[in-house]
């Protein structure tokens, strides 16, 4: 019974990840990271996702603060969006990375209105990504719990 449940959950996980690739939310880099998870490193993906989300939320909070000033410090904004672009690329968060590129362009143009619009897009993409990651991690944890019960 457990075997069937585990298999069903693994299929659900795989399908959900595939849907994220199909929507362009994730790219190949994420699947490469999944390959690094094995029995000696069973929580690798979970840990990576958690680290990414902590980092991203901190950066997004800072960017929001800079954009709320009347005179935007574009150099600080540049530095933050550069960092977020790097971490988004590194986890395979494709649409987040593209949203960062748009904000980089708006910041380069020193256009506050466009920056705000681009930033809202980043925030939207992040919320979407985070909720999907949370769902994935829930499935993964259920799989691990069932596998541990079997032993």
């Amino acid at each position: 019974m457990n075997q069937m449940a585990i298999a069903a959950l693994k299929n659900q996980y795989k399908s959900f990840v595939q849907s994220m690739f199909d929507e362009g939310v994730l790219d190949n880099q994420f699947s490469q990271l999944q390959d690094l998870q094995d029995s000696s490193n069973p929580n690798f993906v979970d840990e990576v996702i958690t680290l990414f989300c902590n980092d991203a939320e901190r950066i997004i909070t800072e960017m929001n603060r800079y954009l709320n000033y009347q005179n935007v410090d574009f150099s600080k904004l540049d530095s933050n969006v550069h960092q977020l672009k790097g971490s988004s690329s590194s986890i395979g968060a494709h649409r987040m990375k593209l949203a960062c590129v748009n904000l980089q362009q708006a910041s380069y143009d020193r256009n506050k209105e466009e920056c705000v619009e681009a930033f809202n897009s980043i925030r939207h993409e992040y919320c979407l990504l985070r909720s999907k990651f949370q769902f994935l991690m829930q499935i993964q944890r259920r799989i691990v719990a069932l596998e541990n019960n079997q032993q």
Binding site: N28, D35, L36, F52, G86, K97
Partner: protein
């Protein structure tokens, strides 16, 4: 600086093409690596990736710490260094590390993608300029090369 025009790409439409995967190499030798990245996530992720291959990996979060560590005598087979770093940037840190006579493989791993940045990082002394993310198609051949430099047992 303006982002590169070719970054405006669409999603991969669900077809995953994987000429390399991260787990297709087993190293014979215990290699050592240093990761220099000011971003917590990227630093820890790169460390995690290298450790998954069995590399003994240290990390620092700024260029000055990297230079100090190497000046203290620490030796590495591989250094991954970001360009934008606090305290001392990656370009200057790389120059100082090379000026100490360090010849190990250095990869400049950065979110910058422009040709100007590439040339600057290469001129500073990195062997390869890598736009993040660091993928297996770049890393695996380098690890094989480094592993092969040790005599077979």
């Amino acid at each position: 600086m303006a982002p590169a025009a070719d970054e405006a790409k669409s999603g991969n439409g669900g077809q995953i093409q994987r000429p390399f995967t991260f787990n297709e190499i087993v190293l014979r030798n215990r290699l050592t690596a240093l990761v220099v990245d000011g971003d917590n996530f990227c630093r820890l992720l790169q460390q995690g990736i290298l450790q998954a291959y069995g590399l003994q990996t240290q990390t620092v979060d700024n260029g000055d710490a990297a230079v100090e560590l190497i000046a203290s005598g620490a030796k590495f087979d591989l250094i991954l260094i970001d360009m934008l770093l606090p305290i001392l940037d990656g370009l200057e840190a790389t120059r100082r590390i090379r000026a100490m006579g360090v010849n190990c493989k250095m990869l400049g791993v950065t979110a910058f993608s422009g040709e100007r940045e590439r040339q600057a990082f290469l001129a500073a002394g990195v062997d390869l300029f890598v736009e993040k993310p660091l993928g297996p198609e770049v890393l695996i051949p380098i690890l094989r090369e480094l592993d092969g430099q040790y005599p077979s047992i």
